[in-house]
């Protein structure tokens, strides 16, 4: 006997709804298309926990499953507000994200560096050594660079606004083309 078309989809849909209602989904995710490619968005009940670029999606899901919980389901509804704000950001109608972030996974130093990173205003940039001074470790520009590179929530935590001293682009987890695109979008690069 085969299962009629659509029955599987309907059953899965209903299962997702019940799993969510019964509080069994510890990590919810969805994907969205953007001008910098497909993005993975993942959230815990505490907030947005991960944004990953297209080529990192599989690896990111495996890591979330291993470090947070394997009760990980595709539930676009939970990411609705994140998607809405990203859509507005990419169409230049939103400059500051207003989202709850889950920082549970971050060590104290990375957390401090990313808090400063999040405070860099739209359309402007800071250097690794400026950030190092701001977090009180002026000689730790390299460690700051690593912390910025470990940003699990790119775009929303705008690590693309961190450049080398002197204005060279430096690096970017998602590749320099994406960094250049985001800076141009914000009018920081011409």
């Amino acid at each position: 006997m085969t299962v009629a078309d659509g029955v599987l989809e309907r059953s899965l849909e209903q299962f997702r709804r019940r799993a969510e209602r019964e509080g069994l989904v510890e990590v919810a995710y969805t994907t969205m298309d953007t001008p910098i490619g497909t993005l993975l968005l993942a959230a815990t009940p505490a907030g947005l926990v991960r944004i990953a670029f297209a080529e990192e999606v599989e690896e990111a899901l495996i890591r979330l499953s291993g470090t947070l919980s394997p009760r990980l389901l595709e539930l676009p509804g939970r990411l609705h507000e994140v998607r809405r704000q990203l859509d507005r950001y990419f169409s230049r109608r939103l400059h500051e994200f207003d989202l709850t972030l889950d920082r549970e996974l971050l060590g104290p130093f990375v957390r401090r560096v990313l808090e400063r990173t999040a405070a860099i205003p739209y359309g402007s940039c800071a250097s690794y050594s400026e950030l190092a001074r701001q977090v009180g470790s002026p000689r730790a520009a390299r460690a700051v660079g690593n912390a910025v590179g470990a940003n699990p929530i790119p775009v929303v935590i705008p690590c693309h606004r961190v450049l080398r001293t002197g204005g060279a682009l430096g690096g970017y987890g998602g590749g320099l083309d994406r960094k250049r695109f985001l800076l141009s979008l914000e009018g920081a690069l011409r």
Binding site: V3, L8, F15, L61, I62, G66, R71, L72
Partner: protein, 161 residues
């Protein structure tokens, strides 16, 4: 079941488990539970999701899901006062060929236990239910529930040697 297997496995996201096995589980339930297949499917997947993070053996997830599904068919038959399906007659889908680890054999052995022992073992170790719970679900005393689990485990130990 074996105390030596305590290493924390990193399990794939449950979404991937669905992608790989949900269709097979639903096909099995459609054969085994007819019009109640969709209800059984919900119960099976919710029980699986609940128990998933504590799973000690990730090598034969298909067999694990089928064990839960078979139990849900029996529970469902009892609850709705339908004549319970003689589970031995259900067609047991073959284990996936990729799962060649020791757990593949384990689930095959579980599937071959007598019905009462298989249900009791499944509820205890697959769904992590209490003896009180198992006794309730199988309409037996708690002593009988313990005995069924114990006998089932003994038989598994013997056949794994």
């Amino acid at each position: 079941m074996s105390a030596s297997r305590t290493r924390q496995l990193s399990l794939p996201p449950f979404e991937w488990v669905l992608a790989e096995h949900a269709a097979a589980v639903l096909r099995f339930l459609t054969r085994a539970a007819g019009v109640e297949a969709e209800d059984c499917f919900q119960e099976t997947m919710l029980a699986a999701l609940r128990a998933y993070p504590d799973l000690q053996h990730g090598t034969n997830l298909r067999g694990w899901l089928m064990t839960i599904a078979r139990n849900k068919v029996v529970d469902n038959g009892r609850a709705s006062a339908r004549r319970p399906l003689p589970v031995e007659e259900l067609e047991v889908p073959a284990a996936p060929t990729d799962g060649t680890g020791p757990d593949t054999d384990l689930w095959e052995l579980v599937a071959r236990l007598p019905a009462k022992q298989r249900r009791a073992v499944g509820m205890r170790f697959v769904e992590d239910r209490s003896y009180e719970d198992i006794a309730g679900a199988m309409s037996t005393s708690q002593d009988a529930a313990r005995r069924n689990v114990h006998e089932g485990v003994k038989k598994l130990r013997r056949s794994m040697r």
